[in-house]
Symmetry: C2
């Protein structure tokens, strides 16, 4: 009984209120609230309400801009370079993704890159905007250095996520949303708090050696790219992390690699680089969504190795999480997170708090 159920609309309103109270433009506050609540709804609590205090602090301290709009600096029929004007990540992300979709309607593809951006929540949120237009969507962002390259000893890449969403029939879709590190930092922190060893292939110590001790990974070590050791293909994950950096920091002329500010240290503007793509299947072979549905069926209907663990397609675990929320009539939050955010709200003078009385059993 350490979780409570809160209606989506209540969380949205709460985040909006906290953000506008510290001076965020209402539409911007709404954009942020929607991305964070979507993260929680999809079961990615690490990128939801849980991070609201970080965004509040960024606006309060002035390290992130509370007003203004992103601006197109260079443009062709199919591409754009956008100055994010140091606005909240979701404001930049929505602006760029809408622009990419508009271009894809006209010439089949839109490839939009932004500098001067900030953390934008789950990457999948932007890729999924394309689904509404029956298009393929992609989004990428660089992030603070947390990943040690294969053979290396220093964090020189972020967890640099890749998201790709593609529509199938009847509202079904493929939604890949993955960090290019083996796991997220939060997962290692969780094992550390539980005093459990982490599986081999998640992180390394300060000398670059793979380690199962979460303390070593968190103190001087780092996450490792997908694939783990060099022998099991870690250099591929490292290459994918570099690819994301090329699309983001390098193409956009934003901060990149070690120059991105340290995680959780907000002494300078983030100047993140991000990349948003929309591709219109109508410009290619007819019958795209039929083939997508068939491809996903081939996987989902396959005999699983374990009869209790069916073969899934990217996006299925999130679909299950969303269905659970919808049946229950709200999003289940850990009571500690709710109380922590309510304290945060009180400190900035917000009196409409999150209800923490609808407790549910785990």
């Amino acid at each position: 009984m350490n979780r409570c159920l809160i209606k989506k609309e209540e969380v949205l309103g709460f985040i909006e209120k906290c953000m506008t109270t510290v001076g965020t433009k209402p539409l911007h506050a709404r954009s942020l609230a929607e991305v964070l609540v979507e993260g929680d709804h999809r079961g990615h609590y690490s990128h939801g309400l849980n991070r609201m205090d970080m965004y509040v602090k960024d606006i309060q301290s002035g390290i992130c801009a509370k007003d203004g709009e992103p601006m197109v600096k260079k443009e062709s029929a199919a591409t754009a370079l956008v100055d994010g004007k140091n606005l909240l990540g979701p404001v930049v992300g929505n602006f760029c993704m809408n622009l990419a979709i508009k271009k894809a309607k006209e010439v089949g593809i839109g490839w939009v890159v932004a500098y001067g951006s900030n953390h934008f929540g789950i990457a999948g949120y932007y890729a999924m905007q394309a689904l509404k237009e029956n298009m393929i969507g992609m989004s990428f962002t660089n992030t603070s250095p947390l990943v040690v390259p294969t053979r290396g000893t220093e964090c020189s890449l972020g967890t640099n996520p890749i998201s790709v969403a593609a529509p199938a029939n009847n509202g079904d879709s493929f939604v890949l949303d993955m960090a290019t590190s083996a796991v997220a930092l939060g997962k290692v922190e969780l094992y550390d708090r539980r005093k459990d060893p982490i599986p081999e292939g998640w992180g390394c110590d300060a000398t670059g050696k793979l380690s199962t001790d979460p303390k070593k990974v968190l103190n001087g070590g780092g996450l490792v790219p997908i694939g783990g050791s060099e022998e099991t293909g870690g250099y591929k994950g490292y290459g994918l992390g570099m690819m994301v950096e090329v699309f983001c920091g390098i193409l956009a002329g934003a901060k990149y690699s070690k120059n991105v500010r340290t995680w959780k240290v907000t002494d300078s503007v983030a100047d993140l680089g991000q990349c948003f793509v929309a591709i219109n299947p109508a410009n290619f072979a007819p019958g795209f969504t039929d083939r997508m549905s068939d491809l996903m069926s081939i996987q989902r209907r396959m005999k699983p190795a374990d009869p209790d663990a069916p073969v899934l397609v990217a996006g299925d675990p999130e679909r299950t999480a969303m269905e659970k929320c919808d049946v229950a009539g709200g999003i289940p939050y850990h009571i500690n997170v709710v109380n922590y955010m309510n304290e945060c709200a009180k400190r900035i003078g917000v009196s409409e708090l999150l209800p923490n009385d609808n407790l549910i059993s785990d």
Copy 2:
């Protein structure tokens, strides 16, 4: 002393001669020869001369077209759908990549997708064409089903490679060219021949369980996606393999997933789907190659975990392989491969054979 050195030009001429002898159009034979020799030159012998007999057989049997040209079926300023007309993969690949580059010169990006294609050699060959124009290049292809999805028991995806090339200063470049499986099938076959166990995380048995027995992987089992088990992030590699299939078979309307013909069985046309992309950095922030060079220096200059194994960037191992060839004045081939291909040449009536007398020490 089981390797011999052969000049690049001699291998090119030999492959060209073998292909034209069975009826391939000379320009098409030349295209294939160039891709295969480039594979060997870069050290990827699994995708070079070693496969010539497969291409000869495909033309001889008529399962692959010996004449004709690819055709644009649908086009916008930034996109194209191409019918590969069942021509050799490199013919389709060069046609599409040139088209993508042309579009990227005009509108900043070209995204070209082909159906009716065949094996095209190393994916990196096409991505790297963009480097000559100071552009980012990408290429993807689906392939015969060899990979078992996470939690699954059947091969329902190919090794579906991703290649991304990006130019830096002074001819330097980032060249990622990777299968989305943990390793290539050839690597498992090699361990099998040596009777060595394979590392955990390369493949699974017929029940979908990870196995270190190469025999089980090769007989009824399959390769697994990068990341290995579900715990170490194998579902991410699976998602990337699906992404490649979306860009290739699904977007192009070609064969896809289990429907692609079985590896090494050529009883029907391949109808592979492939995707070629060029992105012009000139459409984004100035100084792209400077930032690329700096990003690569950050990695290469990092203190390595093992002083004898420096931190590399994607493309560096291939650069070393090419330098070795250039210093030696030729490509080192295993004598068995040379003799095997000479036998193949004799059978089709080619008398100009590869020289196998320039033996070198290993």
